[in-house]
Assembly symmetry: C2
């Protein structure tokens, strides 16, 4: 669906991984931007970005990267967004918009906003989309189609800047939702961060078994385990940063989970089948609600 009107003339994507490369492909395909600069400290990734047609130009220099940009999207792991903001701040032009794609919002807002000069607008964003693959070659233009894009602009953010970032993401096929950053972090702790932590844990537990048993776990993984391994194959650095930067919400929901697991463990030990069955019937209903909400 290319259109005649660019939303932005020049955008800069900093960090060309799965999300950055998918955004680049989609923004070009939908005619949302005229020119894309990719900035990445990894030279091999910059070269790959050019080969894959993700960028009109690339650079490893932060100031150079952003000096003419109307929009800068930070697509690095959430723990480094603050460092990136500090590095680009002196190069940003007046009226530029800065955005990000991080899975945690309060910490990123705290880390980034403090570095940005007056006259630059910050519109934090989180596309709820991804795969277990990473790197520039993992991207594809359709990644965001039909997926949620959550914006968490702090009170007082320029309405026009919000509108432009929102339109860019709408054209990728995303459904836009605006939310308070704190609320975002709690919702995502439940729907995304805890499931990932659990999946990483159980796959790690299996990896620690003796070699003979481990071989059979792989062989018979189709019985449930396999679904966890896909989640537990997600980008290690990105997820390390998620847990460190959404610590409070993750620890709170983890505490609830552990209590609930202990309750089931006790029911198994004491042979209390009714408690197990009651829960298993209840969880089945949730699946139906998700199917009805068209999320399955």
């Amino acid at each position: 669906m290319p259109t005649d009107s660019f939303i932005f003339d020049r955008i800069t994507i900093i960090g060309i991984g799965l999300i950055g490369s998918s955004l680049a492909l989609s923004a070009k395909k939908t005619g949302s931007v005229r020119h894309i600069t990719v900035c990445d400290i990894n030279k091999a990734h910059r070269e790959e970005a050019l080969e894959l047609g993700l960028a009109d130009e690339t650079t490893g220099d932060f100031i150079e990267a952003v000096k003419d940009a109307d929009l800068v999207v930070i697509c690095t792991p959430s723990g480094s967004c603050g460092t990136v903001a500090s590095a680009i701040a002196p190069g940003l032009k007046d009226g530029a918009i800065v955005s990000d794609v991080g899975s945690v919002k309060q910490a990123i807002i705290h880390d980034v906003a403090q570095h940005l000069p007056d006259g630059v607008h910050f519109v934090p964003a989180h596309p709820i989309a991804g795969t277990e693959h990473s790197g520039p070659s993992a991207g594809f233009a359709e990644l965001f189609e039909g997926r949620w894009l959550i914006l968490t602009p702090p009170a007082g953010t320029d309405e026009d800047a919000i509108k432009k970032v929102s339109t860019l993401w709408e054209r990728t096929g995303s459904n836009i939702e605006i939310m308070d950053a704190q609320h975002h972090d709690m919702v995502l702790a439940i729907t995304s961060h805890l499931p990932h932590l659990i999946a990483y844990t159980i796959v790690g537990t299996a990896d620690d078994l003796g070699d003979h048993l481990k071989k059979e776990v792989i062989k018979f993984s189709a019985s449930g385990f396999r679904d966890f391994t896909r989640i537990a194959a997600s980008d290690p650095v990105m997820w390390r940063d998620v847990f460190l930067n959404n610590k409070e919400a993750v620890l709170e929901i983890l505490q609830r989970f552990t209590e609930d697991l202990t309750f089931l463990q006790r029911a198994i030990r004491w042979g209390e089948g009714d408690k197990l069955e009651e829960l298993f019937k209840r969880t089945r209903k949730i699946r139906r609600e998700i199917i009805e909400a068209n999320q399955a």
Copy 2:
């Protein structure tokens, strides 16, 4: 791939759920059996079995059901296999083979074998296949294609009986593996029972949140949570029985899992990113091994 030679003339399937109905469809389609009797205490399921072409005849009477059967496959939840064995025992003909499809093997062997008369052969089996759906209409002939079928015959089991049950399952498209029952229960505790328990727990934890938060969990479930809800939608009674009947192995692996989760929880609390990253890199490798083993 129908063939000219039946493996069994008459078989009886007791309990016509997802596995029983899929076995019936596949056994007919592949020409493995001439006549199928379905026995189920649920009248509506018996009627459905006839309508769906799963059975040549149906009955709610256990003795009647098995009196001419060359093979009886118990497809009820694992907790009721002993009761079924006790009910059918007086009706079994000399030389009949009894099998089952339960997800736990030691408990079923204990519960079933004690009731079977001399001259009847018991060949315990576990098809590692399923979906989150249940009931007679959930079955399909292709369910077992390319999936594992584990046989756990006790020492001294009649070789010819093992061979015939094995051939029946081979024709459904399963890959056959023979294993000690105790070893089976530990491997499955890791690959299947623990993942299901975890999935049930996390979906339950989400269900206990306030209504407003719960609605958003459903809305944004695509970010990881959704994969767990599919697993947690599996048959409640079947899974209750699995946990009660594989208690020792499940509790042992659950203990390891909890220790590992506590380790990560502590790493998050103290900001020890290196510990998180080290694990997340390790788990990614397991995914690769599973893909290489063609299980993904």
